[in-house]
């Protein structure tokens, strides 16, 4: 104990809370994150749940740090299990080692899962239920929160305030019971050697946000000007819709729950045809149903945004866990030659930026923009700096009533490819949007000449658009000849790995593609100049990202390839090892 008190505080630590569904571990995790934010720390909470809808096991994996957190940790310092249930299922997701402290439920000490029993963790048992019963209205999850707070050095005031704020809506009795539970948890840990305490946070944490990737995507959409959403519920995208439904109503828009994804995508096209920036959100199986109509939006040149929060596939796959395996479908899934936009956020904060950018791009270019988020971003919550205000707004080139005698041609073959789009209600511009190939006026045509003109018009408007510097994010040691090329949620672990590389160790820089289609070929070639060693990192089984790079960016050189499917997250240690030792497999 004395020894542990002398342990220096760390800059980052991680905690797992598990219990049966309904035991409140996710609530406790959220409160812990809020308390950490009040203490001036940053944090990231990832959820993991078993296959049961309710009553199965649930885990809140929380990483807290004095600096922004963008990835799951290499190991966990503390695991508190309110009950064991099927926690064995999470064994792969919560790496523990001999320095980890595991506190289990003493009433279930015979049920300790194999991966805990056979490990070298330090173990301790506590009877959470008994302790909770001693408090009128007490709950085991609050006992656990008190334990965590005490062990990691979370200031009492921050935790107490977060508990009160979270429980207040349930009334003063519930607040008092929760506070008593937290206090009991703290007391139980008085003599417990701590696995790690976190260095104090910054005093001035005002202005930070606590937000999930799905909420951030919704917020980005609303900021960009989206005022109509049609969607069908699907894990793990539903939170976008549940956040947007009341939010849109408040800003004068609305959301329709459709009967299926075939309907939701077509409603979205209808809303946008009417002049309202429109969006839908889905996951892989829903995107598959939408592909025909996304092709319609390409052909009829109707701007729409489709957010795909990817999950494990194919088919129903692993609905509540992450993978990057919808890339092929997003890039190549549409019938015909169908130029469209595909962009990918690389962090929770970037879900806002990239979705707002997607609204801007879709509206400016008059074509569908797909946003490839994933479960690990969408359903995770983080403390982030307030995202900057962005200039990306929905700004559609619209048509004015033509002068007398002049005809409005919706699909006019203009130099930029972006022809003015009439908003219904504009006199003199009535036209029929069509998924059939058409003449510049919009009249259906199967003639080779019309087809070529329209194919090239649609190609030109996406290919010639100026995407600026937003095509990728990069970082690390800018002079390094080792380059990690990645995209989407893998970027977080890459960033952290590069930040953690010891001075003197091999350095590296990274490039994370935000713009996937049209492929930023020239920009990428220029950015790869001087790269002796190229490591491609992605979360698929078949190497979809590398195939994409080969097919669309002209990449022919040999690469090292970190390519693993979900649902296990990419961890900074994987990348560190890759840089220092190469891929072992």
């Amino acid at each position: 104990m004395i020894e542990s008190e002398q342990k220096p505080a760390v800059q980052s630590l991680s905690v797992v809370l598990t219990g049966s569904g309904g035991s409140g571990v996710i609530t406790a995790g959220t409160i812990l994150l809020e308390a950490a934010a009040k203490a001036g720390w940053y944090g990231l909470m990832t959820r993991s749940v078993g296959p049961q809808i309710r009553g199965g096991e649930a885990a809140a994996l929380i990483r807290l740090s004095t600096t922004p957190v963008s990835a799951q940790p290499d190991r966990h310092d503390l695991l508190i299990a309110l009950d064991w249930l099927n926690v064995q299922r999470f064994a792969d997701e919560m790496p523990l080692d001999q320095h980890s402290l595991v506190i289990g439920n003493s009433a279930q000490s015979d049920d300790v899962p194999e991966f805990i029993a056979s490990s070298h963790v330090r173990r301790y048992d506590l009877d959470f239920k008994f302790m909770a019963k001693a408090i009128d209205g007490g709950r085991p999850n609050m006992i656990a929160l008190g334990c965590v707070g005490k062990l990691i050095g979370l200031p009492d005031a921050a935790l107490d305030a977060a508990v009160e704020q979270s429980i207040a809506k349930r009334g003063p009795d519930a607040v008092a019971a929760s506070a008593a539970g937290v206090a009991a948890g703290r007391k139980a840990m008085t003599d417990m050697p701590t696995p790690a305490t976190l260095a104090p946070g910054t005093a001035d944490a005002d202005g930070r946000w606590l937000i999930s990737g799905n909420e951030a995507a919704g917020m980005g959409a609303v900021r960009g000007g989206v005022r109509f959403v049609a969607a069908y519920p699907i894990t793990p995208a539903t939170e976008i819709l549940e956040w947007m439904a009341p939010a849109l109503a408040k800003v004068g828009g609305n959301l329709v729950q459709a009967e299926d994804e075939l309907a939701s995508i077509n409603m979205t096209i209808g809303g946008s045809f009417g002049g309202t920036p429109s969006l839908t959100a889905t996951s892989g199986p829903g995107l598959a149903l939408m592909t025909e109509a996304i092709g319609l939006a390409v052909a009829s040149e109707v701007p729409i945004v489709v957010v795909d929060v990817m999950r494990g596939g194919p088919s129903t796959g692993i609905p509540a866990k992450s993978e990057q395996s919808d890339l092929n479908m997003a890039i190549n899934g549409l019938p015909g030659d169908a130029p469209h936009i595909v962009v990918a956020p690389n962090s929770i904060s970037d879900c806002l930026f990239t979705t707002q950018w997607a609204v801007h791009l879709a509206e400016a270019i008059q074509t569908p923009a797909l946003v490839l988020s994933d479960q690990s971003l969408g359903q995770a919550k983080a403390v982030i700096e307030r995202p900057a205000d962005l200039a990306f707004m929905a700004r559609r080139l619209t048509a004015e009533t033509p002068e007398a005698g002049a005809r409005y041609n919706r699909y006019a073959d203009v130099a930029s490819g972006i022809s003015p789009m009439a908003v219904p209600g504009t006199p003199g511009c009535a036209y029929t949007a069509d998924g059939l190939e058409h003449s510049p006026r919009g009249t259906p045509s199967s003639q080779a000449g019309d087809h070529l003109v329209q194919l090239e018009k649609r190609h030109r408007k996406t290919a010639d658009f100026d995407y600026g510097d937003h095509w990728a994010d990069s970082g690390g040691d800018g002079d390094s000849d080792t380059v990690i090329l990645t995209w989407g949620s893998c970027t977080g672990a890459v960033r952290e790995a590069l930040a953690q590389l010891d001075e003197g160790a091999r350095s590296a820089r990274y490039i994370s593609l935000r713009l996937l289609m049209p492929a930023p070929k020239e920009q990428l070639i220029a950015a790869l100049e001087g790269a002796e060693r190229l490591i491609v990192v992605e979360q698929t089984h078949s190497g979809q990202f590398l195939s994409y790079l080969r097919a669309h960016t002209g990449l022919t050189r040999d690469v090292e390839h970190w390519c693993h499917p979900g649902p296990l997250p990419l961890r900074p240690g994987d990348i560190r090892q890759l840089i220092l030792e190469g891929e072992s497999s």
Binding site: F228, T276, G425, P444
Partner: protein, 279 residues
């Protein structure tokens, strides 16, 4: 004569007709449906730019291009969702949906039920010729079970779908049947359907002379409904369940309020929404 009437002469049916020549076969019932739609729009004096005609795929779905209003010729079976999105986002527009028995009742069948249930203020005009015409003569959901075709030799053996019964059960707010051979009567039905709030369903028997020459006899089979419209679902159900499929007229008018969430009434700013995330 006031300036107003000088500036806005009365609109007539041909003001709603575009100069694009239809692809339909000579004698197709859809010609007279097109004429009925333009007559109805003229009757209502709707500014063409405030009307949108939405369709899917099929012979009848070609109508939007032939009407000089805003239009959308989308993908097969999805006209109702596209129209729903448009109307919910732009409640100021009058939105008509044109479909056929294949587009509307087969591939689009699920949307038909949910559009009726949702009761958005749309007018759904289905030109029923009991055959897939554009793909040259396959049986549709309303085709008689013994109708012989290459795809279903000897007939499908499957009872036809009852669109009006389904519409009633699913919650449609207005149900009518008309015959393309009576363009004036049909124009009246469409006019009433547009006027009636909520989801209005108009089934129009529209013969396919090419693949169903037997439908030339429809003009002798159709007859006016001998009863007045009813707002009683029970009576309407009995009427629709027992009619011979050639009973024309307004057969049900409901009083359900249309689905229309408010648009453009902001009570908060985007910054207010952001505040919720601030710690």
């Amino acid at each position: 004569m006031s300036m107003d009437t000088v500036c806005k002469p009365e609109l007539v049916a041909r003001d709603y007709k575009s100069d694009i020549k239809p692809v339909w076969c000579p004698g197709c019932g859809d010609y007279s449906v097109l004429s009925s739609i333009t007559k109805a729009l003229a009757e209502l004096q709707l500014p063409p730019e405030d009307v949108a005609v939405i369709s899917g795929i099929g012979c009848s779905s070609r109508i939007p291009a032939y009407v000089d209003c805003y239009g959308f010729h989308g993908v097969h079976g999805r006209s109702l969702p596209l129209a729903t999105g448009l109307k919910v986002a732009r409640p100021d527009l009058t939105v008509l949906v044109a479909s056929g028995d294949g587009d509307g009742f087969s591939i689009g069948g699920n949307h038909f039920m949910h559009a009726a249930r949702r009761n958005v203020d749309l007018t759904y005009i289905v030109m029923d010729n009991r055959v897939y015409g554009m793909t040259k003569g396959q049986p549709s959901p309303t085709t008689e079970p013994d109708w012989d075709s290459a795809l279903a030799p000897g007939g499908t053996g499957i009872s036809p779908f009852r669109p009006l019964v389904i519409a009633l059960a699913a919650g449609a707010n207005f149900i009518a049947r008309g015959f393309a051979g009576d363009p004036n009567g049909t124009a009246k039905l469409i006019t009433e359907a547009i006027r009636h709030p909520g989801f209005s369903f108009v089934e129009l028997l529209s013969p396919c002379i090419t693949f169903r020459p037997d439908q030339k006899n429809w003009k002798t089979q159709v007859h006016d409904a001998v009863v007045d419209p009813t707002d009683d679902m029970g009576r309407a159900a009995r009427r629709l369940m027992t009619d011979d499929g050639f009973n024309t007229g307004v057969l049900f008018t409901g009083e359900r309020a249309p689905y229309q969430p408010p648009v453009g009434q902001a009570t908060a700013t985007v910054s207010d929404l952001e505040e919720r995330f601030a710690l």
